[in-house]
């Protein structure tokens, strides 16, 4: 009896250790970014395509480039508050290395080795290239600093336990693409913009009960993750606009019938309007190429 208890305890401890081992926060070493030279100009393009300011800019701020955080996102799991990612060394991420940013975007792991919640869309950013992360890091460093402290998220149990995110990542965090590779470089660029940087699926694809994207219903529309209403589907059977109308919408915010973009998408259009036309055309080409 006593021996059984002992074995049971040992097994339990081993199980916890193994579980901890496979669900603990991961990070890469400096070799992943070795030899890369930062290009802040491309970093701005990554910044716009990735929509960093749409969530991290201060809610009532006049300047979209002050990434003081503070926007609140009410979700079924609780309220997430976007943190300060301005280059302030205390309140922001001014003391982060490019590798810290890589591990945040690629593994959802903080410099202290803690899990980030996937409200930070690293399940899309995981596909960002090392060069783009290095460039983004350089660009973020050129933006104005803000000493506004980040506020804690307000989440209910069990979502308040960060360790549970390790299991979530194990199940759902992958850098494989949803659309198979194409021979067409324009579609490949569009795939990168939509599935990696643009993280379009985070709102346009429905989620399962654990809050992970249902890739079987890719870009088919979903309930608004933060607020009322429905995010429209943009898969071909939901959105029949010609490619040039999609590109025009991303540039001007006008639909083919000259309604205008609204909600959080207005922030996306504000960013995509500043990208080179070929990026808007690439997004359109990707959407038209979806099955």
């Amino acid at each position: 009896m006593r021996k059984g208890l002992l074995i049971g305890t040992v097994l339990l401890a081993a199980g916890i250790a193994a579980g901890w081992g496979i669900t603990m926060p991961r990070s890469d070493g400096p070799e992943v970014l070795a030899g890369l030279t930062p290009n802040p100009e491309n970093g701005r393009r990554v910044f716009l395509a990735g929509g960093c300011a749409s969530c991290h800019a201060a809610p009532e701020g006049e300047n979209d480039l002050v990434l003081a955080g503070g926007q609140r996102f009410e979700t079924p799991f609780g309220t997430f508050v976007a943190p300060n990612i301005s280059p302030d060394r205390g309140a922001g991420i001014g003391d982060w290395s490019a590798l810290n940013l890589w591990n945040a975007m690629h593994h959802g792991t903080s410099p202290e080795g803690a899990h980030y919640y996937p409200a930070f869309p690293y399940s899309s950013y995981v596909r960002a290239t090392p060069q783009d992360v290095v460039d983004l890091h350089a660009y973020l460093g050129t933006l104005p600093a803000s000493d506004t402290p980040s506020q804690p998220h307000d989440l209910g149990f069990p979502f308040s336990v960060r360790a549970s995110i390790g299991g979530w990542k194990l199940l759902f965090l992958t850098d494989t693409y949803v659309m198979p590779a194409s021979e067409d470089p324009q579609i490949m660029r569009g795939r990168y913009l939509v599935e990696a940087l643009g993280h379009c699926a985070e709102c346009h694809t429905p989620r399962n009960g654990l809050g992970a994207l249902d890739t079987a219903r890719w870009l088919e529309g979903a309930p608004n993750p933060s607020g009322s209403g429905q995010i429209p589907g943009i898969a071909p059977d939901k959105l029949d606009w010609p490619a040039n109308d999609i590109a025009y919408y991303l540039e001007t915010g006008f639909t083919p019938s000259f309604d205008s973009v609204g909600g959080h998408m207005a922030a996306v259009v504000k960013n995509y309007a500043q990208l080179p036309p070929e990026d808007r055309e690439a997004v359109a080409a990707y959407l038209k190429a979806l099955p």
């Binding site: 607020g227 009322s228 006008f254 205008s260 609204g262 959080h264 207005a266």
Partner: protein, 155 residues
């Protein structure tokens, strides 16, 4: 003050007090129809200008000017009565107007006013050729977006 004017003042006062009570019982269908009608006229005229700017239809100075004039005319309609408090998407199923409109009604009005300013700028160039249309339409579009970003629910 004569007795008649006193009585009239009293009656007016009573009407003002009663108004909110009757408002809660009324339907907002006409308010919504008026709002949607305004938006429809805006997108219709923007569509004409946008079609010319994009080269999807030939530029016609007279038609462009008329469309821009219409946008300015719409912008001059007062945006008060048709935006009655309570006619939001929490209370009604057939509108996407967010309750936030009435949290900061002055800001809502300011956003409408900035649409008017941009419409006037568009009016000034609409008849001068297709070249200037795109930028001026973009200016108007920015004001549409600002309001829809803050005050309209996604689909």
């Amino acid at each position: 003050m004569t007795t008649v004017t006193r009585l009239a003042a009293l009656a007016l006062g009573a009407a003002l007090v009663a108004a909110p009570l009757t408002a809660t019982a009324q339907s907002f269908d006409n308010h919504l129809a008026a709002r949607k009608g305004e938006m429809q006229i805006m997108s219709f005229n923007l569509g004409i200008l946008g079609g010319m700017a994009r080269g999807n239809m030939p530029y016609d100075a007279e038609a462009a000017q008329a469309a821009a004039d219409n946008l300015v005319a719409i912008s001059q309609l007062t945006q008060t009565v048709q935006w009655a408090e309570g006619s939001d998407n929490m209370e009604l199923s057939n509108t996407r107007a967010l309750p936030a409109i009435w949290d900061d009604f002055a800001d809502f009005q300011a956003k409408w006013a900035s649409f008017g300013e941009r419409a006037v700028a568009l009016q000034a160039v609409a008849g001068q050729g297709a070249e200037g249309l795109g930028a001026a339409i973009g200016g108007v579009g920015g004001t549409c977006q600002a309001c829809h970003e803050a005050y309209r629910q996604p689909n």
